[in-house]
């Protein structure tokens, strides 16, 4: 068993300065959480990375022809098939290595880890089938879901990852129906049910926890799945500078608890573990909701029940998680 790798921010910085794997000049919005997630994944790399990207904000914003922000091999095919593409890359890598192909070509490197990145639309919804297939087949890659809780790239439409009450362009705050009437799909439960070796949630605000989990994802013997929380100032109606603050508040309110599932065993991490031990630390959801325009209607007196319902749901999910984690 190898020693547990601990990220050192200075080393991470030096490595990024040297290799610049994700270059500036991409066109993600100012304050986009996904840009931080991409960087943290690359910080955690233990060997060269090949990156497969589903259609979505990260894809369109980072490779607007003739530009590319990627100094790692990168490929985008379509919206719903990133995990299938990753399967093919992994299969090719296995075969080419086994056959000693390109062994005498100094211009080719076959020893790499594979990252597959998809948004909530590409993971909860349209890409769920190909993800499930790839997890069942045990392809060795790390699938990262950057969850900004709606189809932001097409202009803020609801997805299976959109939370209750949120205003999107397809769940507007109407006279009768106010925001999204349904709750977020339990994507982690669905993924964990595939019995993969490693699954975890990360909030980039807790960078140490996040980078370490990405590293564990790279090291997992088989498919790994990381659910990363990604603030979207444009879609959430939040101030760009509040991006990291919201990433913290989501954890502190248990809206997005931090945990990992290692071969089926649940473990709470960092602030979520602290809240499990000391429930007084759990903040009310209002603190998280109030910084976001998408929930503004819920603060009107006649809609207060929505905040209560949101809180009830969060509490219930949190209790379920506590049980799974042995609390």
């Amino acid at each position: 068993m190898q020693a547990v790798w601990r990220p050192d921010i200075k080393e991470l910085a030096r490595k990024e300065l040297e290799t610049r794997p994700f270059e500036s000049g991409h066109r993600l919005c100012a304050g986009c959480g996904a840009g931080i997630i991409v960087r943290q994944i690359l910080m955690a790399a233990r060997k060269p990375v090949v990156w497969i990207n589903a259609t979505g904000c990260v894809e369109v914003a980072t490779t607007i022809f003739p530009y590319t922000s990627w100094n790692v091999p990168w490929a985008h095919n379509a919206f719903e098939n990133a995990a299938a593409v990753g399967s093919g890359v992994e299969a090719a890598q296995k075969k080419l290595k086994r056959a000693g192909r390109f062994a005498d070509d100094p211009d080719v490197e076959l020893d790499y880890d594979i990252v597959v990145l998809g948004g909530d639309g590409g993971t909860y919804d349209i890409g769920l089938q190909s993800l499930s297939g790839a997890l069942e087949r045990r392809h060795k890659f790390m699938y990262v879901l950057y969850d900004n809780e709606a189809y932001m790239n097409t202009g803020i439409q609801r997805s299976g990852g959109t939370p209750f009450g949120a205003r999107t362009t397809t769940t507007p705050v109407g006279k009768v129906i106010k925001g999204k009437p349904l709750f977020k799909k339990p994507i982690m439960d669905i993924v964990v049910a595939h019995q993969i070796p490693y699954a975890a949630t990360v909030s980039p605000a807790y960078w140490n926890d996040a980078v370490m989990k990405f590293r564990k994802g790279f090291e997992a013997e088989g498919p790994a799945f990381i659910h990363a929380f990604s603030t979207c100032p444009l879609g959430w109606g939040s101030r760009p500078e509040d991006t990291v603050k919201l990433m913290k508040l989501a954890v502190e309110t248990c809206v997005f608890p931090l945990y990992e599932v290692i071969n089926g065993e649940y473990r709470l991490n960092g602030p979520s573990l602290a809240i499990a031990k000391n429930p007084d630390k759990k903040k009310p959801v209002e603190e998280y909701l109030k910084l976001q325009g998408r929930f503004r209607h819920m603060f009107k007196p006649e809609n207060k029940w929505m905040i209560e319902k949101f809180q009830e749901w969060v509490d219930k999910q949190w209790e379920l998680l506590l049980k799974k984690a042995g609390f």
Partner: protein, 91 residues
């Protein structure tokens, strides 16, 4: 960097991009950009860590330097700086 406009005969096969986005100046988006007060900076690197745009150059030792040619001015760095060493100033 001058990015040429190519015709179909000169484009690389398979529609692969041919220039780094470093050549694309997103600094023009910014209304405010960070200014670091070196006296207050404790070199913790959080501004570097939380920048979505890989704008900060940091060798892990000195004061991180933002590349204003690409900084979009989101202000996360100023908000997260534990010593309030970063001020967002109008460009």
């Amino acid at each position: 960097m001058e990015v040429p406009v190519l015709g179909w005969k000169d484009l690389p096969m398979a529609a692969v991009p041919f220039v780094s986005s470093k050549a694309y100046d997103t600094g023009e988006w910014a209304v405010f950009q960070p200014k670091i007060n070196p006296d207050k900076c404790v070199k913790c690197g959080l501004c570097w860590m939380y920048c979505p745009d890989s704008v900060y150059r940091w060798d892990g030792e000195g004061i991180p330097e933002p590349d204003l040619g690409h900084c979009k001015g989101c202000g996360i760095c100023a908000e997260e700086c534990p010593t309030k060493a970063i001020e967002m100033v109008r460009v």
